[in-house]
Symmetry: C2
C-alpha cells in the first residue's frame, strides 16, 4: 500500500501500482475526466504512470499551471508530428511549453516557412488531435536513443542525448512521431479542442548566435474553442493597450538610438506622471517615518565585491570603468550605497528602525534582443528603500512595508495575490545564511501574512539567495498577471557589510534589513499603468486634466480667464483657442485621451459655466465654473478611477 | 607723442618715453601714491617702465585684481630674499601670486622647515620691506641667464630658462636677491605694510609626482595692517563656516571611499534641503512654461562626438564603456539628450519656444587631488534647461531666464554682478560660428542687460566656444565672490545636431538654444548656501524647523499633540521627550542649529502655549500654539532670512 496526501491535507491509502488517473477516479469521475497529469512530490507525472511511493499528490487540471504545462507540452509534440507529415526532412530541436502555449524550434533546411505552411500545419494538428492519439512513454538506453536519432538523421536530438545520462532517457510516441522527452504528457489528444499557430521567429540553436538559426513556431491550444476565442480577444485588447504604441501616441516617453538602446527618455507628459507617482509615494514614506537619501549612479567596485554581486552577476552589469587606481561601476542596485549611509555613524537600538528611501536609478545590462519598451530596459529607477531594524521589530516593519504595497495596488484597483517566497529546503546550498535564520524569517513572514489576512500562497524555492520574501502578483484590467513590488528579508548583507548597532545590553548586534519597492521600477510600473488603463489615466495622474475649447475667438478671453482659475487650484489645464471647428478640437482632445474637455461658447461665457465632455463618455451637460473646479479637485483628491475604467478579470 | 585711452574712454596725449607713474601723476598725486602697476593693452607693466605706444591704459591700485597681482608678485620675491638670507643653499623654483596672496616653491635640501623658521622668515620680510627696496628690471641674454644660475647652482631656474626664447628673458633684482622673472613689480617695497606667512605644503616640481617634492610656503601681504587683521578674521569666519565641517556636523551629506572619491551621498537632512530647492525651482519653471524631462545618466558616445565634446574634452570625462557593438559614456552634460528630445518630433514656429528642464545628474572626471567637499566633485546635479527659440524670441527668452536667476539670488540675499562674457575679437579661431552670429548675439545680450538694468561689466574672451553668455558673480555673507548660474546663447549645437523648425514662411530654420542653470549645480550651490548661512538656514530650508522639548514626561502627551498639529500644517517637527534636563535638550538643539525650540512645561500645557527659543537669539517669550503655527507658516511662505543672518560685504 502507498499513502498519498491530497492538497487539502487529507491522507488516503492506495494499492501499489496505482496510477494518477485511478487516484483521480477515486475522488470523482468529473475530476478524472478533466485530469491532465498529476504532481507527485513536485514532479509532474503522466496520468497513467504508476505512482512510485508515498507522497503529496495533486491532480492537475486546466485550471492549474502544471495542468496547462502538460497540455501545451503535448501540443508541441502534435505540432512536430504535423510538421513532419509535410516536411519529412525537418530536424527537430526543442519544443517546450511556455507561459502562453508552446513553441518548437525546427530546422527546415532551405525551406522558408510561409503563412500558408502555418495554416496547413494548424489544420493538420486539428486532424491529429481529433484522432485521440495516445502518448506512450518508453525508457530507452542511451545507445538505443542515439541509434534511433542517427537513423532518423536528427543532429539536434543527438546532441541533446549526448548530454544525458544513460538510464534517464525516455521517448514519447504519439501517432507517427517519436520524441526524446522527459514528459509528462496527456493520456491522449482528445482534450485538445482548439489549436492556433501564433507566429514564426528565428532562434539560434541553444541560443548561441554562432549556431544555426532555426525556425521557431509559436502555438497555443485550449480544451474549449471558446477559450481560444477569448484568448484572441484578450490578445487584441492587449495589442491596443500596448504601452509602446500608447507611450508614443501620448508622448509619454521615447527611445532613441543616439541616446542608447534600452535607455528611456521621459518626455514632459511622462515626467508629469512620474513626478505625481513619486510625490504620492514620498508623502506616504514621510508619514511612515522613512528618510530620503540621494546617492550617486556609480559606485566603487569594492561595494559589489563586498555584496557578492561582482563578479557573480557581472553578466547583467555594465563593464567597470577605471578611474585612476580604482574601478567604478554603474550601480546595478542601491543597497550597498544605503548600507554605507547606515554605517556612516554608530547606531544604537534606540535609533532603529532606520528607513532609508531613494528613487534610485540603476543600470543593468540586458542583451539588445531582450529589450522591450519600458518593460525591459537597461536603465531604470527603483522606488527603493532599506529598513534596518532589530529582530524584535521585524514583524512590525514587514507589516508596515506590506501595508504600503497594498495601498499602492488598491489605489490603482489591481487585485493582488501574495507569494511567500521561501527557500527550497532540499537545495539549501544555494542560499546564504544559517538554517536558524531562515526558519525564523520564514516563520515571521508566515505569521505576518496570516495576521494581515493576506490572500497568499507559498512558493518553495522562490526566495532570494539572501533571504525569504513576499512577492506580489497583481492582475491588470484585462486579467493579465504581473509580478510587482517585493518585500524581502535579508540577513546576509548585514554580515557582509559588517553592519552593527549597540543593543540595550550594550553589546554589538547585527540589524536585519528589509528591502522593499512597492512600484518596483518607475519605468516598468508606468508600462503596466499605461496598459492597465489603456492610456485613460485617472484624473490625478493625467498629464493634462482639462482642455478648454473655445467655439470662436470671441470667447478666448473668457477661456483664458477660466484656465487661470483652474490653474490657481493646481489643475493641469490647456486651452485650445485656435480658429478651428469645435468638432476638430474635440476629436484631437479625444485622441490625446484628455479626461475633461470644457467647451466655451456664448451661453457659457454669459452664464460663467462650461459645457463638459468626459473622454469616452460624451457630453456631460453644463456646469458652473466653480462647481466644475470643486468636482475636479474632489476627483483628484479621491484618486477616483476614470468612469470608462472596466476590469475584465 | 603717444595717445592713451583711459578707462573712462577719455584720450590723453603724452610725450614718448612717458612711464605709467608719470601718467598716474598727471591724473592725481593721490593716484600716483596708490599706484602699483599699469595695465596697457591687457599687459601688466612696471610703473617705471616706458609705455611703448598708443593704447588703453589702466592705473592699477590695490582695489584691482591686476594691482593685487603686482603687489603679491613682488611679495613673493621678498619671501625668497628672506629665505635666502637664512638658507643660502636653498634652490628656488617658482613663486607666483595667487587668488589670496602668493607662494614660493623652494628646495631646502634636507632641511625641514619649521614653524620657528616661518616666524623668522616673516620677521625678516618685514625688515626687508621697511628698507624700501627697489625692484630693478633687466633684460638678459639666454647665455648670461644660464651662466648666472649655473654659478648660483639653481637647477630649477636653469630648467625654466631652457624653455625660454633668447631675447625674452628678464631678471628682477631687489636688495640681495635676483630672480628670473617676467615681472611686473612694484617700484619699491614701501607699500607693503603687513606680512603673514600662512602655511606650508609639499609640491612636486612642475606638479609631476616623479619629480622632487619641494616645500611650498604660502603667504599674504597687505598695504595696511588693518587689512591683514580683517583678512584673518574673515579666514577664521570662513573656517567656521566650512561646508565640509558643517555638512558633517549637521548631517547633510557624506563622502565615503567605498562609494567613491568625489561622489557625494546626500544624507536625509541634505536631501530635505535639496528637495525644497528643487520644488522651489520646479514651481517657478512650471509657471514660466518650462517642461520637465528625465533622461538617462549615460549616453551613446555618438552624442558627444556630434557635440564635439568627445574626444576634445575627454580629459574631464569618465572613460567610455563598451556595450555590445557600441560605446557609452557617463553623461558629462545634459544638452545632447535634450537636443534628442527636441528633434524627436517635427517642430513648427508655433511650438517655439520649447523649454526643456531637467535636474540632471552628470559625471565629470576630476583628479582626486582636485576634489574638495561639495565644491569640486565627480558627480553633480545641474538644474539644467535648454530653451529652443527663434531669433525673434531670443531677447525675451534671455530676459525670462535672467529674471529667474535674479529671483534665486534675491531669495538668498546675495548681491550679484553680471558679466557679459563676450569672445575675444583678436582670437576668433577658438570660437565656432560666424562673425555675424556672434555680433548679433552679443548685441542682443548687451541690449537685454541694458533693458533689464543689470549691474554688469563686460568680460572679453570669457565666452564659451559656442556662444556668448551671461555669468553671475554673487557675493556671500562674508564678502566672498562666487560665480553662480549662467545663461548662454548657443548657435553651434543647433547646427551640429541638425535641429530645425518650420517657419511661418514654410521653410526650415535653425532654432537658437539658450543653456541656463540658476543654481548651477545642486552640490556646489548647497556648499555655498551652507557657508553663506553658516548652517543657520532660513526656516523654509531648515531640515528640522522646530523641536519641541518637554520639561518632564508629564507633558509628553501634550508635546505629541502639538507636534501633530504642526505637522498637519506641513511643518518639519521633532520632539525631544526624553527624560533629560531641559538645559541639555536646549544645548543639543542649538548645536544642531534648529531654528525654533519650543519648551513645554506645566504653564504651557495649561495655557495651550509654548515657550519659544530662537536659535542664537535666546528666549522669545510665550506664544499660543495656533499663533506660533501662523507665525512659522508666514516665515516659511515669505522665505524670510533668519534673524541671526548678517551680511558683512
Amino acid at each position: 500500500m502507498i499513502t498519498l496526501t491530497l492538497p487539502d491535507g487529507s491522507k488516503r491509502e492506495f494499492e501499489n501500482g496505482t496510477t494518477g488517473l485511478q487516484v483521480a477516479e477515486s475522488i470523482s469521475s468529473g475530476l478524472a475526466r478533466n485530469a491532465l497529469s498529476i504532481t507527485w512530490n513536485k514532479q509532474i507525472f503522466d496520468l497513467n504512470r504508476v505512482i512510485p511511493a508515498d507522497g503529496n499528490i495533486t491532480i492537475n487540471t486546466w485550471d492549474s499551471e502544471d495542468g496547462k504545462y502538460t497540455f501545451w507540452h503535448s501540443s508541441a509534440h502534435i505540432l512536430a508530428e504535423a510538421v513532419q507529415s509535410f516536411f519529412p526532412d525537418a530536424k527537430f530541436a526543442i519544443g517546450p511549453p511556455i507561459e502562453n502555449g508552446f513553441y518548437y524550434d525546427i530546422d527546415f533546411g532551405d525551406h522558408k516557412v510561409s503563412a500558408e505552411d502555418l495554416e496547413k500545419i494548424e489544420n493538420k494538428m486539428m486532424d491529429l488531435v481529433k484522432q485521440k492519439l495516445t502518448f506512450t512513454r518508453k525508457e530507452v538506453s542511451k545507445a538505443d536513443a542515439l541509434s534511433y536519432f542517427t537513423e532518423k538523421g536528427d543532429p539536434y536530438k543527438l546532441e541533446l542525448i549526448d548530454g544525458l545520462e544513460d538510464g534517464q532517457i525516455t521517448f514519447y510516441t504519439q501517432g507517427d512521431f517519436t520524441d526524446l522527452c522527459r514528459g509528462p504528457h496527456l493520456p491522449d489528444t482528445s482534450q485538445i479542442k482548439a489549436v492556433k499557430l501564433m507566429s514564426l521567429a528565428g532562434a539560434y540553436w541553444r541560443g548561441d548566435e554562432n549556431n544555426k538559426q532555426l525556425t521557431r513556431i509559436y502555438g497555443i491550444t485550449f480544451p474549449k474553442k471558446s477559450l481560444l476565442d477569448e484568448y484572441l480577444v484578450r490578445l487584441e485588447e492587449a495589442k491596443k493597450r500596448d504601452h509602446k504604441k500608447l507611450g508614443k501616441q501620448l508622448q509619454l516617453f521615447m527611445f532613441n538610438p543616439m541616446v542608447g538602446r534600452g535607455l528611456p527618455v521621459w518626455l514632459p507628459k511622462g515626467t508629469t506622471i512620474r513626478r505625481i507617482l513619486e510625490a504620492f509615494l514620498r508623502d506616504e514614506l514621510l508619514k511612515r517615518g522613512y528618510q530620503e537619501v540621494i546617492t550617486p549612479h556609480i559606485g566603487n567596485l569594492e561595494l559589489y565585491k563586498t555584496s557578492g554581486h561582482y563578479p557573480y552577476y557581472s553578466d547583467s552589469q555594465f563593464a567597470p570603468i577605471t578611474v585612476e587606481d580604482e574601478q567604478y561601476m554603474l550601480k546595478p542596485m542601491n543597497c550597498p550605497h544605503h548600507h554605507q549611509v547606515y554605517s556612516s555613524e554608530p547606531r544604537s537600538y534606540r535609533d532603529l528602525p532606520i528607513r532609508l528611501a531613494e528613487f534610485g536609478s540603476v543600470y543593468r545590462y540586458e542583451q539588445s534582443g531582450e529589450l522591450n519598451g519600458l518593460s525591459r530596459v537597461r536603465g531604470f529607477t527603483q522606488d527603493d528603500a532599506h529598513i534596518y531594524c532589530t529582530e524584535d521589530q521585524l514583524a512590525q516593519e514587514l507589516d508596515n512595508a506590506i501595508d504600503l504595497t497594498q495601498l499602492v495596488f488598491k489605489t490603482f484597483d489591481m487585485p493582488v495575490k501574495t507569494r511567500l517566497s521561501f527557500r527550497d529546503p532540499e537545495n539549501t546550498a544555494k542560499y546564504a545564511g544559517t538554517d536558524e535564520m531562515w526558519n525564523h524569517a520564514e516563520s515571521v513572514i508566515h505569521k505576518v501574512a496570516d495576521d494581515m489576512g493576506l490572500d497568499y500562497f507559498i512558493g518553495i524555492g522562490e526566495a532570494a539567495f539572501y533571504g525569504p520574501k513576499f512577492d506580489f502578483i497583481v492582475q491588470d484590467a484585462i486579467g493579465r498577471k504581473w509580478q510587482l513590488g517585493t518585500v524581502q528579508v535579508d540577513y546576509v548583507m548585514p554580515e557582509r557589510f559588517g553592519l552593527q548597532y549597540v543593543g540595550s545590553d550594550n553589546s554589538k548586534h547585527r540589524p536585519v534589513i528589509i528591502h522593499r519597492a512597492p512600484f518596483g521600477s518607475m519605468e516598468r510600473f508606468l508600462s503596466i499603468l499605461i496598459e492597465h488603463f489603456a492610456g485613460d489615466f485617472p484624473l490625478w495622474l493625467s498629464p493634462v486634466q482639462v482642455r478648454l475649447l473655445s467655439i470662436s475667438e470671441t470667447y478666448n478671453a473668457f477661456t483664458d480667464e477660466v484656465a487661470k482659475k483652474l490653474r490657481a487650484k493646481g489643475l493641469r489645464v490647456e486651452t485650445d483657442t485656435r480658429n478651428e471647428q469645435i468638432g476638430g478640437k474635440i476629436r484631437e482632445a479625444e485622441t490625446e485621451k484628455i479626461p475633461y474637455m470644457a467647451i466655451i461658447g456664448e451661453k457659457e461665457a454669459e452664464s460663467n459655466s462650461l459645457a463638459i465632455r468626459r473622454h469616452k463618455m460624451g457630453n456631460q451637460g453644463s456646469i458652473e465654473v466653480d462647481a466644475f473646479i470643486a468636482k475636479l479637485v474632489e476627483e483628484v483628491e479621491t484618486k477616483a478611477m476614470p468612469p470608462s475604467f472596466q476590469k475584465n478579470a
